[in-house]
Subunit: 271 residues, 2 copies
């Protein structure tokens, strides 16, 4: 099943108020991690709902608050269009379990990323990475580690950032390559997935935590990428106050920044 | 009028559905910039609504989408609590003009920032700034530049980042000090204000634009600051695809990061 099929939303009906609508979607088997949806995958489904509700082709910016685990199976999505402007369509989306509990609350703006770039100034570089074939593939295993979800996408980690390896730098950083399987084209929704598909920086940084649950993830999409591998980098600078941020940058094969992300994650108490 | 009074929200009534409520608030004269609310001020009012709706003391993370200018005068706010969890209360808020048009759509999570910090690791430094008295105060003028809004807060700019001065570095960076007037204490809502109170980095960076309208602003609050000046830094690295990001860091007098922000702003076409 392609990423496009695994994140599809289908119209159910218009809502009671103007601008409101209901949609159906499913968390597909194999796209879960130990029974629950990967956060990026859940936000990708929410992104499809925002695109469908606003009738625009590309995500410009999307924010998701993660409120409950997303088990494999069907969901209902309620969308509400807040504004249809000239350049952006803005909408909320609530991804709900069959019983009505909200797994993910979304606020996003969709647009047409037509490539107009009036002024360009970039004061940063794409991450320096070995070729994909010289990086470490992350392949899912039936015993759950790495999770089979990793076989739905194609990830290659910078050897210094492989947290289960002896040679890890210990820095709060993860770099690597991302693409979809079978050369499926990457749209803005797949970029959203790419911002939350890599192992957490907390692991390569050797924080004494088993997991870092995402509170909030925001993705800004700057451009549609050209086909091929995406060059990705995730960095954490502040582990403080019981939280950490994870900042992502995604670059395409032309060396252009195509998306930027930041997530706020909880640092569980070690006790 | 204090910042606390200028951002107050008052209960109007419960909404039709459980968890929904309506509130009144006002954009106060003098808190506008040429007739319309400063973005940080508008998101601060939205933050008060999220706190009131969830019954929690501190903003943890808040995202606002700016959809229409906010003129001086009354507004109505509709809130909807999405989840009341153990640690976070999550809510949406729509700040609406009397005619019903939404100025600002908000999604936020509130909490009790009780100071528990299980694991700390900070790989960054607060910005190096001259003492507040050796920085450049930004004082509002009746002719509109700088806007009188600047007299509601107390800003001191790093001399290298004063965009109207000959000595500006030309970097896409603004550093300086922030506090409220008359030693008003700074809560998480005032931190939200501080993340969008300084002149845009686009000005000190000499981009050929007259303004950079905010599409989306997200603020993460890590801790309640100690009283006194806040040390602030705003940086832009990517002006591309017709957008720029502005990343903010706010540190208190103990050298602790208390808030982090990112906004996505439009780069208008120069024609």
């Amino acid at each position: 099943m392609s990423f496009s099929e695994a994140t599809a939303v289908n119209s159910v009906e218009a809502g009671h108020e103007p601008g409101e609508a209901r949609w159906s979607a499913s968390i597909r088997p194999g796209w879960d991690i130990q029974g629950n949806a990967n956060g990026g995958y859940l936000l990708a489904i929410g992104s499809r709902a925002v695109l469908a509700a606003t009738g625009r082709p590309d995500i410009a910016t999307i924010t998701g608050h993660f409120l409950a685990p997303g088990p494999v199976g069907p969901m209902e999505i309620e969308t509400s269009v807040v504004k249809q402007g000239k350049r952006f369509g803005t909408a909320t989306a609530a991804l709900k379990l069959p019983g009505g509990r909200t797994m993910l609350q979304v606020l996003g703006a969709a647009t047409d990323l037509d490539g107009t770039t009036p002024i360009e100034r970039v004061e940063s570089q794409p991450p320096d990475l070995p070729d994909p074939d010289d990086c470490t593939p992350v392949e899912g295993r039936d015993d759950g580690f790495p999770p089979p979800f990793m076989n739905r996408i194609d990830l290659r980690l910078h050897p210094e950032d492989v947290f289960w390896s002896e040679g890890t730098s210990g820095r709060l950083q993860v770099r690597g390559w991302f693409r979809l399987r079978e050369e499926e084209p990457i749209d803005s929704v797949a970029l959203v997935q790419a911002t939350d598909a890599f192992p957490p920086t907390a692991f390569s940084g050797r924080l004494p935590v088993a997991w870092v649950p995402t509170v909030e993830l925001t993705v800004h999409v700057r451009a549609r990428p050209v086909p091929g591998w995406l060059r990705c980098q995730f960095t954490t600078r502040f582990v403080t106050g019981g939280f950490l941020e994870e900042d992502g940058e995604i670059w395409d094969g032309t060396g252009r920044l195509v998306a930027q992300s930041r997530q706020l994650a909880l640092v569980p108490r070690a006790d």
